[in-house]
Symmetry: C2
Subunit: 443 residues, 2 copies
Amino acid sequence: MQTPERGLVEILEDALVVVAEDGLIAEIVTADDPRHEGVEAEARAAGRLEVLGEGRYLLPGFVDLHIHAPQWPQLGKALHLPLEDWLQQYTFPLEARYADLAFANAAYRSLVDALLANGTTTAVYYATVHLEATKALADICQAKGQRALIGKVVMDDPALSPDFYRDLSTDQAIADTAAFIDYANGLAGNGTRLVYPTITPRFIPTCTDAGLKALGDLAAATGAHVQTHCSESDWEHGFVLERTGRTDTRALEAFGLMTRRTVLAHANFICDDDMDAIHACGAGVAHCPLSNHYFSNAVFPLRRALEKGVHVGLGTDISGGHDASIFSNIRHAVASSRALADGVDASLPADSRGRPGSAVDFTEAFWLATAGGGIVLDLPIGLLAPGYFFDAMVIDTHAADSDLVVWPELDGLDDVFQRIVYSSGRQNVRKVWVAGRAVVDKG
Amino acid sequence: MQTPERGLVEILEDALVVVAEDGLIAEIVTADDPRHEGVEAEARAAGRLEVLGEGRYLLPGFVDLHIHAPQWPQLGKALHLPLEDWLQQYTFPLEARYADLAFANAAYRSLVDALLANGTTTAVYYATVHLEATKALADICQAKGQRALIGKVVMDDPALSPDFYRDLSTDQAIADTAAFIDYANGLAGNGTRLVYPTITPRFIPTCTDAGLKALGDLAAATGAHVQTHCSESDWEHGFVLERTGRTDTRALEAFGLMTRRTVLAHANFICDDDMDAIHACGAGVAHCPLSNHYFSNAVFPLRRALEKGVHVGLGTDISGGHDASIFSNIRHAVASSRALADGVDASLPADSRGRPGSAVDFTEAFWLATAGGGIVLDLPIGLLAPGYFFDAMVIDTHAADSDLVVWPELDGLDDVFQRIVYSSGRQNVRKVWVAGRAVVDKG
């Protein structure tokens, strides 16, 4: 079950997904293919046939485009506070603890296990400013088998970064970023590459112009991915406008940070000109619908961005978002798009309450979480198709202690797919593969 | 862990909750009470001491104020459709099936099991127009031990009710409602009363004036609870204004349907005068934040209603809401209140985007789901306190396959409570009691 195009659901019954040694899908043999019986028999004879079983369905794994890995130990905590208190009292002190490698290893292991168990096969991580702890996260992803884009966070401007948690200098920040790129590029050895180093200025307010320019140069020199926050909230959007005279998007462009492999988190306040700029360079947006209710003051204009050809995927924004599940964030993407379409204030007339036409449905949101995320990252993931990595999960509609209801006499396979998207929890994710390797198996 | 007042968190360590034979809490013996040791020893000696164990916390059970019980078999289905299609193609045909008692029994058993497993100890149910199937739901709740308010649905106006699914006449609708009240009142025999019959005009559009008036008379004669939909959407609110010349609230008042025991579902479009009327009679609102994203065109003005003294609790609105968990709906209540406060359309200036001051936090939303719901229903539930029913649940923070994270070196008990509210799923609910009887025990 998958969405090969936005809004298009594809459900193949009794198809065989043939996975090659390199973790890529070699071919998909449909039930009506004359070779079906032979391919199945051959795989069974070789002991390589895996049968899903009744009530179980294969879906592409999820792509989570925006995660603050060090914030995992505070998931669901302190969200009642204003942003400034949340950052200064909780988030920055917590991130500063990652100078301690033992703490970092324990937290990162717990996080990667949890996200894999939720079906997140590709995770885009902000680490912390610490080089060694960032290497540890890369080691953990490679070892546990999660595809991961990882960045050492750059915060080289003392003006807006706390003294207890920032880069000691711009030069050191750039050198550490370059060192991490080398480290991550060498990590796979002769095996399957899972970790992609990612250039990560936290956001313009915590970085110097010199640092941003140097990171842009590094992006051009290495071709590495880039991630940063973009026009997230009224405060942040306004701050960048004031400091640079430009929007985040245009300022990042001037620093050389807008590339085909750039992921812009949030982007709630981007205007049409920003969208044109993002589209022109092929960058993408990590839409984080749940987090935006807490820290963004508005809903991302998702439909408008899609209409303008902007690449978009989904992100949890752990721990600005309190839910690690991409299933949950798919649901929030639908709900918040409907809130934008209809508006929220009942005291206004219906025709001036919202932005009609803004809603997306569950098929579009599922596409964002899978194929859409793969397009943002310029990687062959998010689809079950030849040439794509076999990053996939099995959903068990009969899982114990789950609210996923299927009523056979009422449901066609389209209904089952919709119910899976609306009602699956972590307990329904029974098995997960990344690049053909089983990384979760709950039996 | 509980919220005895809105916004106030109370966490007692090592307290003893003493439950009497009648299912009511006799007393709570705190750890510093000189009788603590003696009461504990006595209970242990009598084999009546239950110890929660490490990482487990006792919370009041949830009160779900708005559930369409017959819609359980379509949870998470057809939500991409407009209301009219959703009703005519899916919902009314499904509800019509409950003429078949075997189907009704299977569906209702599945529903009650699921809601109890989610910690919903009190459920306010719309059944269908069918008297026999409504009796079956009452039997199931009494047998499985869920506190339940249940109503035979009245749809006696052929103009807006489909021919295949409506009351055959107004007289029959009233007679069946009266018969169900008698049946439910006799159900407990000499045992603990769990089922409260509830007068249930679906909403004004599907009911005749004569029917509504007769139901109002029945409410006055019996003192039974009343439930109906109120000012849910632009269409419904406008329809009632046009037909009656009044708002839903004032029209219901004129029919005699606004009582201390009336539950108004949704109420998104109530104005200040409506709030005054609701407050004056002591009726309450079932706020259904998730469902409202799908069918209501606006966010319920929760803060405003609370400031006006209106009783408010939470509802899932299964299956207009796709999530059976009240934990999830607590989170949606927080998120949608923030959307109302901040607004959603980033193209508007911040100071004209939303309704500042509208946000509620997780402690207030938890109160709505427990004590607030109890107040709406005029029942001693939703709190762990002497004279209240022991309707409670144990949350296991160590449950397998859960994203509930507790980090002992970082978390005080206040943090644990917040994490429980933000991250619990059905799998964290380990044991549930209603009126002192263990109705769920997952070991």
